[in-house]
Subunit: 388 residues, 2 copies
């Protein structure tokens, strides 16, 4: 799969972003639009404390059709009760009125601090006129939804006559479950909403749902796919493959920008009893603070890999059939640490991309998890997030 060098939108999609006063000067509000109604599917966080936009979004998605997405950063509108949901509705209404559609066709997202009232009046005052600023660079939309992200995140590719474009944000409170922090996917291919829903769920299972920066599952996770059909029919198999490839690539971009991260960590588990057990073991390794600090320090303490496999109490594991590699260099065979040269493993761990592979020898299950190292930068970003 090859991605465009500079991300572009599919036919009919545009975006704009503004500062409306939630942040001191950075952009804090983004509008994405399709010039015609688009079939749509979405997956949301499984957290028991979903944000008000998630509560409203589940209702909105029943229609299976979207014209726009309005999203703000800085305040997530979570743990805000009935008034929070009312604020989310007012955001949808203001955006719908600006672009000439109904609120039922506008998906709302908010990301930022939990438990603080949404400054809805600032947002309502900031929406009029934004439609006149709509333009074709997806990165402009990505800018308005950044929190601790170090850069705006967008990606696009072609499938036949159609284009798929991903715009996302997220770098902390990331172990998505049924979705990632905020990921918007736009296409001009023509598919109906149930087909989009099935394709989105399949792609998310192997991409965003295998991502973990810090094992903490956000209350705002949202992943939406909008298809406005302006490019007509596209081969479904090619589309599915492109959708998955882009979701995986965006997952890597998010992992690489994990709070404080210096390394992208990919954990490949194969030979598990089944794919479900492979996912559990891969997540255990990618989430282990001791594995993450080992990668950070390029410390060849490979016993920690076995520890992280071994704490998957409910999985089928046999030390005697367990092998492991670090960036293709063998470090464990049959559950035993190989007598490797420390310097070689240290060098393997020093690459920006660290790939850990584990073969369990139990079956044909496989999975890949995506994450990053654990550094002092993570502590810095999170010991004063609310206050800064």
């Amino acid at each position: 799969m090859s991605f465009h060098e500079t991300p572009v939108f599919p036919r009919g999609f545009r975006c704009a972003s503004r500062n409306v006063g939630l942040k001191p000067s950075a952009k804090d509000l983004t509008l994405f639009t399709s010039e015609v109604d688009a079939a749509a599917a979405a997956v949301f966080t499984r957290n028991h404390f979903p944000g008000a936009p998630i509560i409203l979004g589940r209702e909105t998605m029943r229609g299976g059709s979207l014209r726009a997405i309005i999203a703000n950063s800085k305040v997530s509108n979570v743990a805000t009760g009935a008034i929070g949901v009312e604020h989310a509705r007012r955001m949808a209404t203001a955006a719908a009125s600006e672009i000439g559609t109904t609120p039922e066709r506008v998906l709302v997202s908010s990301t930022g601090v939990i438990g603080v009232p949404l400054p809805i009046k600032m947002i309502e005052a900031g929406i009029p006129g934004i439609a006149s600023e709509l333009q074709g660079d997806p990165l402009v939309g990505a800018e308005g939804i950044m929190t601790t992200d170090s850069h705006p995140k967008a990606l696009s590719c072609s499938v036949g006559e159609a284009t798929i474009t991903w715009v996302a944000k997220g770098s902390g409170m990331i172990e998505p479950n049924m979705a990632t922090m905020l990921a918007y996917i736009f296409t001009d291919a023509a598919f109906d909403a149930p087909t989009l829903d099935a394709m989105l769920r399949d792609a998310v299972t192997e991409s965003f749902n295998m991502l973990s920066v810090d094992s903490d599952t956000s209350t705002s996770d949202t992943c939406v796919l909008m298809a406005n059909g302006l490019a007509g029919d596209v081969d479904a198999t090619a589309f599915r493959a492109a959708l998955l490839a882009g979701c995986v690539r965006m997952t890597e971009i998010l992992a690489r920008d994990g709070e404080g991260a210096k390394h992208l960590l990919k954990v490949h588990v194969r030979g598990a009893l089944n794919n479900a057990e492979a996912r559990v073991v891969a997540k255990s390794i990618v989430n282990s603070p001791l594995v993450k600090t080992m990668v950070h320090g390029a410390d060849p303490n490979v016993g920690r890999l076995l520890m992280a496999v071994g704490k998957c109490f409910d999985c089928t594991i046999d030390p005697a059939s367990t092998d492991a590699w670090i960036n293709r260099f063998p470090v464990v065979r049959g559950g035993l640490r190989l007598p490797f040269d420390d310097g070689t493993v240290r060098a393997a761990l020093s690459h920006e991309l660290v790939e850990l592979e584990v073969e369990l020898g139990m079956g044909t299950g496989r999975a890949t998890a995506f994450g990053c190292d654990l550094t002092k930068g993570y502590i810095d970003e999170n010991a004063a997030y609310y206050s800064s």
Copy 2:
């Protein structure tokens, strides 16, 4: 429960520790002995890659009787295969020969780096003569088993005519499951091995098994209770209460000395559907990197508490009935962040002991979990543990 100001041993127990060359100069080998055979029970790690001493220890404990414990630090003898188990047997044999008992009555422990061969010849050369150094201060034994611990850990109390003494080590790779890193409990009360086993499992469930420094479960976790009966019969109810109280106190000591920790974190969950769900929620909060960094930075970002409750996907949670307190100060009611003064919550979070309470309003289940904050010190200790 009041503990002795200076820990002492029960009748008949003594210990000695030495440097035998595993570490440059610090003590690295400890022997604990009872002058008569003691009834004994133990719980070990559930990690799928148990250390060689655990494999041997499960065999040893079938006898239900111990005379001594021999333990080394620096190298854990894990992921070392059949030769590792042979080394553990040789440690037991050397210690048995030194004190005049059989290897089947000697429990072996090793703690330190995973996957490195145990320097068994250094240990065998270091054991002869150690019996002549046996003495009555439990802290001397605690010294020989330290790894990243900042101080030796021992505790004792009286129950009727008997004494109970706890000696433990541990500060990282700590989310015990069925036991803690290494915890040895000695008493001169008289109980048979099955009774000790039941009492130990009950106490461990509410103490060591509710401890997490970093969510990583060690391959060497061991908790042993030895009762030599020299004080005769003791009221079983009083003994159970004292055993639990001491296990909880030692759990707090271990949590407070978590790698890099500045705060002891206690998370009380009540009103859960049952105790099992209360334990899941309490562990989720105590393990959340975002809650731990919030405590570290005294940042009143209380929405993270709700996030950590809400990511317990399989538990019965209703935002509307969820309340929370930080050091008794109310911060959440009915799932909504209360409009508190930031300075007050910041002050509450600045105590060395931070107690987080969550009421779920679902039933009568309750649990307390023990942990610590996440600091740059944790990164420092673990980015170069193997190499340092």
